[in-house]
Symmetry: C2
Subunit: 173 residues, 2 copies
């Protein structure tokens, strides 16, 4: 199947927003999506963009059962390692289920890797849940290292009330 | 003990660089540090900074055994969640061993949480290794959630030869 991978524009946010929700359903977290299409447009395509995004497009004759020609995306931003320097963090990589197994995901991941190298990033990093075996195996098979399994790295997070409480905490000494 | 927390300036990179190496030794990864003081200055204080940094300073009378008055730092950057929006990622938080247990780490973490809120970040996220029990307990005790333990999130990474191979891979279909 022919497809193109190109940089996302503000007008693509309708499709990105749809696929973010599809991915959240796949990850069993649909109630957690709080970012609207309008916020995506502001956060990614205003004066100070917080992310970059690639979109996968197929021709009209290959469109999805629901009539979509935008069938995948990868959203990323730049991060920094105090050991290695500039790095690329891939927040999401998604291909619609009916388009999987056709090389689109690999091509999209490869494009993100190319951007990492073009931008002199030393690392391409991301997260996968342990129950999501197909995704884990896809990445491991292409050479990714599982830092949680190999080096015991855990992801920690403050959010909501815990973040508020921490920000307002009284000094201790 | 009195101390101040302030934004890092380019001239502080000598101390930040020293403490990055101290932290790497603590994390048993000293051979992995490839970022020089000069690179830190370029990456953090040029036209397009890739990170922000806070530094903890004590008065001359409270200086370290080696004569240092810069005794801790937190390095962070902005990230993006497609579910929640803008977020803050804390790459490092470090206090020199002889200054621990005096409230400096808590105050520094609190300041990072305040910046998260001021900048309308929905999350403050970071990573800790599972053998590093004192750090894990410090964060959990202040309300952080361990996403690896609770939701099975693993950190994956391409780097070095694996990243090159991926960027150069032939198309599959």
């Amino acid at each position: 199947m022919e497809f193109t991978i190109r940089e996302c524009e503000a007008k693509d946010c309708k499709d990105i927003s749809r696929m973010i929700m599809e991915l959240a359903v796949h990850l069993k977290l649909p109630e957690q999506v709080k970012v609207s299409r309008k916020e995506l447009e502001q956060d990614g395509f205003s004066g100070q963009p917080f992310f970059k995004c690639l979109i996968v497009e197929v021709s009209d004759e290959n469109k999805s059962r629901d009539g979509h020609t935008m069938v995948g995306y990868a959203l990323y931003f730049y991060s920094y390692s105090t050991m290695k320097g500039k790095a690329l963090y891939m927040e999401d990589l998604y291909i619609m289920p009916e388009f999987r197994g056709k090389g689109l995901g690999k091509a999209l991941l490869k494009r993100v890797a190319q951007i990492s190298r073009e931008q002199r990033c030393k690392r391409l990093q991301f997260m996968v849940q342990d129950w999501n075996r197909p995704s884990l195996e896809f990445y491991l098979q292409h050479g990714a290292k599982d830092l949680t399994a190999a080096e015991g790295w855990h992801v920690l997070r403050f959010e909501g009330g815990a973040l508020d409480t921490l920000a307002q905490a009284a000094p201790e000494n």
